[in-house]
Symmetry: D2
Subunit: 269 residues, 4 copies
């Protein structure tokens, strides 16, 4: 990198942990001074790198250290070639939508999802969903999840939501285990602000941002959510298509391979 | 209307059926010459009126004759006031996405959905879904449905799909009763063309456009689909919000009213 | 009651709370000495009364104090007549299956369900389901729920499970928000013991018995479950059928009332 | 076989088709005179063999000729050893529930399922489900399916139903693509007769028995269904367990292998 006239920056504590040669900076400085942010790790690291990149010009290159990183663009062995391709400008950047949430005095930003989740022993998540100021539906559920297209394959998918192309500008609101016959989610315009109000009968809820507990909310509190297209951007090298990834990562089995006449009992013993 | 300097046009056969005073024109002329298309009937009539309006400047005002029209803006008693409001320019028009489909030599247009549906006795719908030219998934199913946001509350909803705001620009692809553990749909960008290829093991399929059989397709044939935002436009008078309609029309029950501690057995006798 | 030659028993603390005239006994004594256990309250009270009745001969009469008690047989105004009917032997008793669970040194009994539930901040419920000693499936989920037919309308229903007649002898195993395309539950024979093993990657889980946290389990621990048909019995007076209750309580909307041609957009404003 | 003192029987037309040495009999005779019925083919053949065995003492041995037979016990290469094991009495027989259905003057028997299915162009399946003479729910749907435990992995599974152990005595009623928010099935006791009444707004429906159209039913007609445990029996050699088969055949992916923190976007290109 030095030979190339580049300077490598790192966050102090992380440089020590990785024992590598890099100029130590704060995370704010890292975001501001970088031309490219390289995320080495799993998807959690990638989501944190996207939050770091938020509001700055540098795109994020995801380098996968584990075996099942879904957000990463390359594996470690592919890193040198990836950096050369980036040097040669042979890459594109793709915007990724952020969700900004206000819970009391806390301001939170997510790239996958914001979820209001019940805590065992403290009651259900009894939440009113308001869209553009109007009541849409209320759920008593294990959780209510507001997800970006990027997050459509994470918690929202587990709760039964559809997968969504990152090129669609929309938000997904999906209940997890709602206590009623009506259990569908809704796809909302990014122009519509969404609010989750904890009704009086709700328990205290954990507010999870990209899968990590950020804070708790009490009955009577409201979580205000706004989508922000292009909050961060990621580097694409064009080696694989999202269709190949979607198939492999969600382990989509072609049902076409199991014609109906072939489906019988599996309980054969 | 005459007093107002307006001319009322009608399609020949319909004028006879309704026994009303109107200038008889062909359906092409009706679309081209109208400033406003008034649909009197149920949702089927409304969808036909939207196809009539397609490519012309006139928006469609839906007037509901039945008790459960979802696409209509007003009921018959509200029609005079609605027309006065329109005269006073107190209305907005809202675009509605169309789907254009090519099946063999047939060109079809839908405002709700295009579905490839199995015919009992002729085998399953074994269909490969290709997005932007790439295989995404294949389903062996009762049907594969491609829906607009308007159609998200019709057949796609029955098959388990999410409801989608009409202001989102996206297509829904949803399988009905797919023969595999993977049973999710996908939300696609309007920029991506979609193709449904009937695989060799498929039965002959009925191609339903907005719920009506338009033609049949055989194994080996491909249905090409392109979304076209703003294919038609509808008159909005602002009397009710979509949230109120969604709640009433889908009979959404607030699960919040059934706290978990209250849910026990219903089999009490 | 005294006029009738009956003695009324109550649990000490409850008698004080209700300020009523009754002979104070322990809950063990209450179960053993009673001919009829009357549950005054909601479904939580009813489920506790069933645990009290467990192993004793007295059936439970559920008297509903709230507005949405599902397990109760009568409301308060109907109580005198119900007691008269019972005096005249005009009632039947219906068995209700129990689930006995062993978690470490704890022995638990449920009449609705036993659920292993993730605690926000402590990781997913990563649980292997073994049936009759054989691995069946493992889930990474918000929760894994093992329910009786009585409990099929409670948490298991929220998680997507079917409702089940109380006259079926079977157990339901249902995952809540599982992180995979495979999200189905399974209906098991009461003859097959079931075990939930917390895999090493699992978080610490809350073990909820009939909706209340009983204890916690750590990765490596196994929850052994056995169904026990007829653990308790309930009084049936034959006033309503389960079909009427199921319809009313789950607010089942007859979809027949919404023919497909009538389903259009709900987003009409 | 001859060396063993056994006679091989076959149905006339089938013997000709297979060009094998066997005594030609009618299918009635075959059922009555056999000690063992060997089904050579896929699951469709196996289900027909079970109908042939119905009411007779001979169990059915399923021999799989294709690659994905689910009901078969052995593949062709395993047949000699299987027959030897049967000669040595090293096998068990397992009962399989039948469903008897009456549609007009037709009497039908299914071992997987009876389904009332819409025909494209003829309207929805608008069906009232009555259990033990009482209205339970009505659906407007693509189909309403009544399945045995054996059939729980066939059409009922596609429609969203749970899988069910063959040792549970219960019936599954599952709607396919119902037009309402309520889309759950129900697990019924084998003691309760079930009736499907086609309401006036229904289209003419195809009645599929084990996946094949048997007849059609018109609005106003009622399909009466009764379950009959042990209608046929199948040979079990104990080589594999149902858990192994269920996992392999439904391609159950252990979601435990995809921890939540690892689930990110699949749309990475």
């Amino acid at each position: 990198a030095a030979a190339n006239g580049k300077e490598i920056l790192g966050i102090g504590a992380e440089i020590k942990r990785l024992n590598c040669a890099a100029t130590s900076v704060t995370s704010q400085e890292l975001g501001r001074r970088s031309d490219l942010i390289v995320s080495l790790g799993g998807d959690g690291t990638m989501l944190r790198a996207m939050r770091l990149a938020d509001g700055n010009r540098a795109p994020v290159l995801g380098v996968n250290l584990g075996k099942l990183g879904f957000l990463a663009e390359v594996d470690v062995p592919g890193l040198p070639e990836a950096l050369s391709a980036i040097d040669r400008k042979e890459f594109t950047v793709e915007p990724r939508m952020a969700i900004d949430a206000t819970v009391g005095t806390s301001e939170l930003t997510a790239f996958n999802d914001v979820a209001a989740v019940r805590v065992p022993g403290e009651g259900s998540a009894v939440v009113e969903v308001r869209v553009a100021g109007q009541l849409f539906v209320s759920y008593a559920a294990d959780a209510v999840i507001v997800a970006t297209p990027t997050g459509s394959t994470a918690y929202s998918f587990s709760a039964g939501g559809p997968i969504m192309s990152p090129s669609v500008e929309a938000l997904l609101v999906t209940p997890a285990a709602p206590h009623s016959a009506y259990n569908r989610g809704v796809v909302l315009s990014v122009a519509d602000p969404v609010a989750l109000e904890l009704l009086p009968s709700s328990g205290r809820l954990a507010i999870e941002v990209d899968g990590r507990v950020s804070c708790y909310a009490d009955p009577g509190q409201t979580i205000e959510l706004r989508s922000r297209p292009g909050g961060a951007s990621v580097v694409r090298l064009g080696r694989t298509t999202f269709y190949q990834r979607a198939r492999r990562k969600l382990r989509i089995t072609d049902s076409a391979e199991i014609p109906l006449s072939m489906i019988g009992s599996v309980w054969d013993d």
